[in-house]
Symmetry: C2
Subunit: 406 residues, 2 copies
Amino acid sequence: RVDGPRLWDALMELAQIGATEKGGVKRLALTDLDRQGRDLVVGWAKAAGMTVTVDQIGNVFMRRAGTNDALPPVMTGSHIDTQPTGGKFDGNYGVLAGLEVVRTLNDHGIRTEAPIEVAFWTNEEGSRFVPVMMGSGVFCGAFTLEHAYAAKDVDGRTVGEELERIGYKGTQVPGDHPIGAYFETHIEQGPVLEDADKVIGVVPAVMGLSWYDCTVSGMEAHAGPTPMHLRRDAMQVAARIIPEVVAIANRYPPYGRGTVGMMQVFPNSRNVIPGQVKFSIDLRNVNDELLNTMHEEMTAFVAQVAADSGLDVKLERVSYYPPCPFHPDVVGAVRSATAKLGYSTMDVVSGAGHDAIYAARLAPSGMIFVPCKDGISHNEIEDAQPAHLEAGCNVLLHAMLERARV
Amino acid sequence: RVDGPRLWDALMELAQIGATEKGGVKRLALTDLDRQGRDLVVGWAKAAGMTVTVDQIGNVFMRRAGTNDALPPVMTGSHIDTQPTGGKFDGNYGVLAGLEVVRTLNDHGIRTEAPIEVAFWTNEEGSRFVPVMMGSGVFCGAFTLEHAYAAKDVDGRTVGEELERIGYKGTQVPGDHPIGAYFETHIEQGPVLEDADKVIGVVPAVMGLSWYDCTVSGMEAHAGPTPMHLRRDAMQVAARIIPEVVAIANRYPPYGRGTVGMMQVFPNSRNVIPGQVKFSIDLRNVNDELLNTMHEEMTAFVAQVAADSGLDVKLERVSYYPPCPFHPDVVGAVRSATAKLGYSTMDVVSGAGHDAIYAARLAPSGMIFVPCKDGISHNEIEDAQPAHLEAGCNVLLHAMLERARV
Ligand SMILES: NC(=O)NCCC(=O)O
Ligand SMILES: NC(=O)NCCC(=O)O
């Protein structure tokens, strides 16, 4: 069994770096704070006897040797970058749970046949630089190193420059690194486990995601003198599309999701009819056929609204990844470790994207969820219970041991 | 008849102060540019033999003596402050048309019995400081001088300080200034005259206006893991209210107006269900009873949506003025001057608020509209034809002469 208080202390110590007044963490990817966080974790790994390699996109692999180092490592990991209004657990938990597994093995003098590795992937959050899940995405070839290097923050600084500046542009070619199996522990980021009062979520799959920018262009005009029938009101046309995003999601339960999270209005003045409204659409489902149907219905609906209204409506897909079913062997390892340890459990499909979906393109992969308070994350009030975090870490330990063999 | 090219030249010269690259004007109230604009116009007035007084809110009155100075002046005016993306004509035309009337009377050596005054009112636009139509509002007692002085811009500078700084805090008590009749020439700011191919709009009334802030508060949560039935999505609730704003306006034609021009989404992130959405509602009608009915329907609808959705929805009225019918004598003077001069004409209800609605609380008032290109204003591409501006000024000259008596 792992040392729960030690895991908690590590989480709290890492959360000091970039701590916010409201009890959250702001440690954006490739900032000085990210460097400090990386240095702290790497220092802990070295103190635990691990060897550390860094690849060209800044992914860090911390390795505990096995008795047969020709075997591909059994890996776990996540990320330590945070949202601007992030919490202490999102990502950080997955990395420090891996470290705690290694510390526990050291305490008990347990040698595994396959090496154990703990990874942290660069820029999972995608807040400072897009795309999200950048490090694992480059690692598995979802997009190129050059594409990632060229990504700019709002001040025009690139990923390439910033990696160099903080000293984490490694030499290893991303992906040139075998993986035997990949596990990732994470807070659920949703309310399902808490609602059902379960401690461990076994994650059979991650939903696929389809992101869009929708832009409605009309004509700005004065809100008073312009008769209703002469208006080309972009806000009103947007308001016809927004409810359909939810309606489409509701037509494909239980895993259909539809969200309009972001909107910009031009010129955004109280007495000017909006000339342009831009908003985001986020559609998800765990079944790729259904996600495609949702995509087609969205596209058709927007075309219909454009035709009916006579306004110009553009729907541009800006991101897509398909649903990712995890490997039955890895999911099975999580399930049997949970059963052996006697934790209450249920299956929880992940609605959020994780580095594990990219790792899954290269090796059998799976995830372990623990509850978070009120299902809230990407928020400074994100919270989780020490006992749950310890439980997830125990499941990780036993599942990894099953794969790595003692 | 007035000198059209001279009027045009004055408009173009004043438009140099704060000229923007796209051919518009940015001359916000009580800035250094506003001072330069004020100084230019005051200089022209003095050169035309007028005397100038300034009141405590910075309203400027430029007076041409009558043969009987005991009579209250026949006044015209408007404003010279602009929107951030303003044009050359909105407001400026009304002030310089007044100046052109005086110059024409001087050219022909015409003396009027009542004095003629040309006013420009402080901060009509309300872009830098709210409320809108501040100078005329204080003048007629719609709100107090103290309230206006305390208004702050985004940098925290107050109207009181800024009036002092630019040297336009006068000594005259606002409103302590008799008016015999008030005329205001203005571009229509709507498409009605242009659509009907008429030169002069006789304005029987200005629509009343009711402004609201509507705030929907739900709970922000991650767009992926949060099941549809557990969401408290503020955007979706807002999207149910937005179409009703237009539906209400359409139920009270032909002068019902309904606009949602402004929206803010929190936290405004693609993969976060909005926890709060704030938007503006602008309702107008020329009939106060109908405007009140619209207000009641809006209030009831919002309450119903709040009850149905279970979310907190606040509807706060932030501005209101009732419809303002203009005085039959002044409207009649405009109508007969237009007929005498032979211009094509129609009645146009003003959908936009103007200083004239506040002047109307103190004296018989009315307005003269001329077409503007595509009905566009509050936009750098605002445009108007020299011949139309000249026609409106001729109507102003003759209507004022009828009231001031030669
Ligand atoms: N875990 C997480 O929040 N990933 C970001 C991408 C998403 O919206 O699912
Ligand atoms: N003329 C004008 O645009 N006034 C501002 C107030 C309004 O929206 O009507």
